[in-house]
Amino acid sequence: MKLELRDVSKRVGADIHIHETSLVFEPGAFNVLLGATNAGKTTLMKLMAGLDMPTSGQVLYGGVDMTKAPPQERNISFVHQFFINYPHLSVRDNITSPLRLAKVRPEEIKRRLDETADLLRLGPMLDRRPHELSGGQQQRCALARAIIKDSSAVFLDEPLANLDYKLREELRSELPVIFSNRGAVVVYATSEPAEALMLGGYTAAMYEGHVSQFGVTSEVYRQPANVNAAQVFSDPPLNVAQIEKRDGKVNLSKQFNWRARGVAADLPDGAYTLAVRPHFVRPAADESAQIPLHGEVRVTELSGSESVAHFNLGKDIWVSQSDGLHPYKVGEQHDFYLDDTRCFFFGADGRRVV
């Protein structure tokens, strides 16, 4: 069943929490709402689920206006960041509770329980109580309850945020597989760009109550329509600078300028906002990263398989992200190299120049 928002907005007093938004989610599609804390992800989800009422606009399920219908009439599931299970019930009874409520036949309950427990690898734990499970298993139990009832829409509000990162990695790659072929509209809120990319499907980039862009996840990432969408989809933060295109050159400052090529070569002379993702600013020159940017290393971070350095570039702080563990020293002078062909340029209206 298709889920559609038509000019939906939400106001609380004088504050606009959601600006007028229209979106169409196709049945069976995995949709991500991506944005920082307070971007409006949860609010928008609650409007879709019927847990909150929009100030204006319509919410349609399969073309039927359900704006004023309570959640229980919408055939939906909602999974929260904090996994909610019934502590006094076994895992089995937790998972099957929606079906028992709906008076589904016992043999049908049994069939669906086996299928769901298998999918979420909860088979051996059905007789335990939730508190006897690990965090990841508890969240899988909550997920199992959400998918056992064949909902038309499943809402997942940062469901992995409270799990260890290894569990998060594991469930993240499983979720799209779990939901594929179920026909439900899945809406998944997250503040992590990497999570959105791994989940794939479609992404709505949200910024301060606006949907800045909605489309196929990898396209929103690779072809952001505006600065906000590019920003929302960048972790570590996007590098942004005001530049001037003049006489065939891109001028970032007096010190840093280069001969325009690619998209930059076709830009009419004038002022633009340049944005480039941190992994196109590298710690050493290579065949594609050729433009030297000299700065002082301010902050460094190492994760298991990559390094991040924040450095001063004039008055701005820029970020470089690279594979492997690079031994930076805070305070050292370092030449970073920009891949200028991977820069985005935005005009005065904030829209990307193509």
Binding site: A36, T37, S134, G135, D164, Y165, K166, E169, S173, P176, V177, S191, E192, P193, A194, L197, M198, G200, T217, S218, Y221, P236, R277, H279, V299, T300, E301, L302, S303, G304, S305, V308, H310, Q321, D323, G324, L325, P327, V330
Partner: protein, 362 residues
């Protein structure tokens, strides 16, 4: 400031432990250098909190000794150990101002007000909370409350060690990276021995010069971030560090050759005098290539993570990840995998076979 020696420490909650399994914390034996930045990294239940409690004095180990600068402190109470601790959730006095909160640990020890003022302002500047000094702590955001907690931990110069127990849990993800690197900078300025307990690899690797990776109640490896990535000494370390972690596949050795899923595989490990037990190879996704020959695998999922792609394959029922280039395509459901020999290692019962175990008498 102090050098901390963990001398054959073990802990069991049973009165007469018989086997290794009876120990919540198996034998830990190493030195923490004066002024070092250390992290204890591992999943929940790995034993890191038990170890932390032994160092802070909340728990007396059933076996072994703890020394600060050569002095036996095993049975000293926490307050006699002269340590500072920062917890997962802010521990501050809501009714006091930020200034008084920071000054509290110093006033408690009768430091004169002029010195207190200088120190409070120095710490506030480091944490960028100078503009809040006169505010009541009650009205602050959780992030700022935790910053004050950190400040209270850092304000005393005379402590033997500062311990951080998952200190960034309550911090908003978008501010985490700032505080993460801030703590590293603070260590470089104050040079006190610091121990940072976390289950998050980025926090551990960013903060520490030496990371202690724990699981199953034991220390699996102590090393620099680079060493943990390049040469995991236990399959769990390889799995836990890195995203996705190291691939681990069952292996056999026959006729001086390693075999994986019916294919001969070259490894960097020596095959001489192999220990007994289950054999596996470990290779990071960064060092797996798709090729015309090699170990056969089924393609399960291709994830575009922006900078590169991660291919999830199955060899039998074992998941194997491959890091692919941004523009690399996979056209078939069946692929062959090649493992870079220099970065493919052999493990026996989880442990790297090249390791020389040096067991001292207990």
């Amino acid at each position: 400031m102090a050098k901390i020696k963990l001398d054959n420490i073990r802990h069991s909650y049973f009165p007469n432990p018989k086997s290794d399994d009876d120990f919540a914390l198996k034998r830990v034996h190493f030195d923490w250098e004066d002024g070092g930045a250390y992290a204890l990294l591992g999943p929940s239940g790995c034993g890191k909190t038990t170890l932390l409690n032994i160092i802070s004095g909340l728990l007396i180990p059933s076996h072994g000794k703890l020394q600060f600068d050569g002095q036996d402190v095993t049975r000293l109470s926490p307050k006699d150990r002269n340590i500072a601790q920062v917890f997962q959730f802010p521990v501050i006095y809501d009714t006091m101002t930020v200034y008084d909160n920071l000054a509290f640990p110093l006033r408690n020890r009768g430091v004169n007000e002029a010195k207190i003022d200088a120190k409070v302002r120095e710490i506030a500047a480091m944490l960028e909370i100078e503009d809040m000094l006169s505010k009541k702590a009650a009205g602050l955001s959780p992030d700022n409350k935790q910053k004050i907690s950190l400040g209270r931990g850092l304000v005393r110069e005379d402590v033997n060690v500062i311990m951080f127990d998952e200190p960034l849990t309550v911090i908003d993800p978008h501010l985490k990276w700032k505080l993460r690197s801030k703590l590293k900078e603070l260590h470089q300025q104050v040079k006190t021995t610091m121990i940072y307990v976390t289950h998050d690899q980025t926090e551990a690797l960013t903060f520490a010069d030496q990371v202690v990776v724990m699981n199953f109640g034991q220390v699996l490896q102590v090393g620099t971030p680079q060493a943990l990535f390049d040469c995991p000494e236990h399959t769990f370390v390889g799995h836990f560090i890195g995203s996705p972690g190291m691939n681990v596949l069952p292996a056999q050795v026959k006729d001086g050759q390693v075999w994986v899923a019916g294919q001969a595989v070259e490894v960097s490990s020596s095959l001489e005098s192999l220990p007994e037990g289950k054999l596996e190879i470990g290779v990071r996704p960064e060092y797996v290539r798709i090729s015309d020959t090699g170990v056969e695998a089924t393609v399960r999922n291709l994830m575009d993570v922006g900078r590169h792609k991660v291919l999830e394959t199955l060899v039998g029922d074992i998941k194997v990840h491959v890091v692919l280039g941004e523009n690399q395509q996979v056209s078939s459901d069946r692929v062959h995998l090649q493992f870079e020999p220099a970065n493919t290692r052999l493990y026996a019962e989880g442990w790297l076979v090249d390791l020389q175990h040096e067991f001292e008498e207990v």
